[in-house]
């Protein structure tokens, strides 16, 4: 009996959280697509998410491309240059580019959003917004959702280029491949569907990261400790959801 009760309690709690997040997401989307917007705030978030994430995303991408080249050379050397270029392009544009950029942004941006909005919550700044007739969803949540969804695909585009470049550097300098041939096989292996799926993933990941950051910040309570907890929850839940949705989107694009 106690066992059943525990299962029931767990199930109800899980569905309650999913419900709360869905309502929050619906509210955030509603205010993202309906005027008035705050262009200054959207722009500031775009700079924060897009521009300031470039170094960390770029570094992640170049090393990933290089290591991918090393590994595929040891595994597929028998298949020749074209196969290695192919592995790198597919690996980077379809999976590693979006997933690694998404995870880095979750750590950088999701955490910052949760900490900032969480602090605003516990110091009554969010209540103050309401008393100044400003909707917190419009002012705090919508600009972050819009900016993240817009910037993540651009970041992933940059990550794709740098990642492939990393693979190119190792292949040419280390393995002595012919640069022209290598670039040609890289270009030939680039497929629209794979490339587009990567950008779609990026947009969805941007939404997930901003949603988790704002949701956990918005609902944080209990002072400094609560804000710390919100930050952790934002990064962990964004990372897990991101990997889950990576699987779902991959399945939708390529399973058929």
């Amino acid at each position: 009996m106690r066992f059943l009760r525990a299962i029931g309690r767990g199930t109800i709690a899980t569905f309650a959280v999913i419900g709360r997040i869905s309502v929050f997401a619906g509210n955030g989307l509603y205010h993202s697509v309906r005027p008035p917007w705050y262009p200054r705030l959207i722009l500031r978030q775009m700079v924060e998410i897009g521009y300031y994430s470039l170094p960390v995303v770029g570094l992640t991408a170049i090393f990933t491309g290089m290591v991918l080249a090393l590994q595929s050379f040891s595994g597929f050397a028998f298949a020749g240059e074209a196969a290695i270029a192919n592995v790198i392009v597919w690996g980077i544009t379809r999976e590693l580019g979006p997933v690694l950029a998404g995870l880095m942004v979750a750590g950088r941006i999701g955490a910052a959003m949760a900490a900032e909005i969480g602090t605003m919550r516990v110091t009554e700044q969010i209540d103050a917004l309401t008393t100044l007739s400003t909707n917190p969803f419009k002012y705090l949540v919508a600009p972050r959702l819009i900016a993240a969804v817009a910037m993540l695909p651009l970041l992933v585009l940059v990550a794709d280029v740098i990642g492939v470049l990393g693979g190119f550097i190792v292949s040419v300098l280390d393995f002595g491949f012919n640069p022209t041939t290598y670039l040609k096989s890289t270009w030939d292996s680039l497929d629209t569907q794979g490339f587009v799926s990567g950008l779609v993933k990026a947009a969805v990941f941007g939404f997930i990261v901003a949603l988790m950051g704002t949701y956990h910040g918005y609902n944080s309570k209990g002072g400094a400790q609560g804000v710390g907890q919100a930050t952790t929850n934002a990064v962990v839940s964004a990372s897990i959801l991101l990997l889950l949705f990576n699987f779902i989107i991959t399945a939708l694009f390529f399973a058929a």
Binding site: E116, M120, T123, E124, Q125, D127, A128, T130, T131, L132, S133, T134, N135, Y139
Partner: protein, 260 residues
């Protein structure tokens, strides 16, 4: 002129609010005339903050009615509610200034964001409001984090009055300030309220502050108003709870549950 409840600025009827098993507001009734300054006093955990949050619309009551200028605001649609909120100004306990904005942008926030005023004009009005609360305009471009507690309270007050609201709410305005700064803030509150001709509701447990600010006092205990009358009467109210509270006596009808 004021004949019945139609002309009340704020009218609260049988307001209830619970959090799970905790029944915080248990039928609050309160009427405020236009231009009246009321202090709601009571100990911690008696429902003062919950009452004010229900009034401004940060919380939705479980049952009961709140009328602002005769208009029912409980269960009002959110855009309608925003229109009513424009009549409000609020000074928060910790000032709640936006730390991503400068001091003048904070003060001008309501003017720019909700009234759509351009920056230049809003800055001018914002500086005027700052002078009105005794803030040096040199600090206009600083960040709120650089200000002392008293200055933050002043900036919070300037933000609350900048939009010239009809109703002002003050949440523990003197808490966390030294006694002198406390009375300075009280004086500013009295002056601002008078200058605006606003209706003011203050929640506080600071009796000295309540005496300075208010025309009328309402005491809340266990989620109900147990005494309501002019501030001049509080010393001979004949109400044991009010007596115990204003003299800060540990023994009496109010039992503090210290141990948990």
């Amino acid at each position: 002129m004021t004949t019945d409840t139609d002309t009340a600025k704020i009218e609260v009827r049988d307001l209830h609010k619970s959090f799970g098993p905790k029944h915080v507001l248990r039928g609050v009734n309160l009427t405020m005339a236009p231009g009246e300054s009321l202090a709601v006093i009571g100990g911690s955990g008696t429902g003062k903050s919950v009452l004010i949050k229900n009034l401004i619309g940060l919380m939705e009551p479980d049952s009961g009615s709140i009328r602002i200028d005769g208009e029912e605001v409980v269960h009002m649609a959110s855009h309608e509610r925003e229109r009513v909120t424009r009549k409000f100004g609020m000074l928060f306990q910790g000032a709640a200034l936006f730390d991503s904005l400068t001091v003048w942008e904070n003060v001008a926030f309501g003017l720019m964001e909700s009234q759509g005023m351009n920056r230049r004009e809003a800055r001018k009005l914002s500086l005027e409001a700052m002078i009105q609360v005794g803030l040096d305009t040199d600090i206009a471009d600083r960040s709120p984090a650089e200000l002392s507690g008293g200055m933050q309270k002043r900036a919070g007050l300037a933000r609350a009055i900048a939009t010239r609201p009809e109703i002002l709410f003050f949440d523990e305005p003197t808490t966390g300030l030294d006694p002198i700064m406390g009375s300075v803030i009280d004086d500013l509150i009295v002056r601002s309220v008078r200058e605006l001709g606003a209706t003011a509701l203050t929640i506080t447990h600071d009796m000295a502050s309540a005496r300075r600010i208010a025309d009328n006092v309402a005491m809340i205990y266990e989620g109900r108003i147990v005494w309501h009358g002019p501030v001049a009467d509080i010393d001979h109210s004949g109400n044991e709870m009010l007596d115990q509270f204003i003299h800060g006596r540990p023994d009496g009808p109010i039992q503090l549950r210290v141990a948990s």
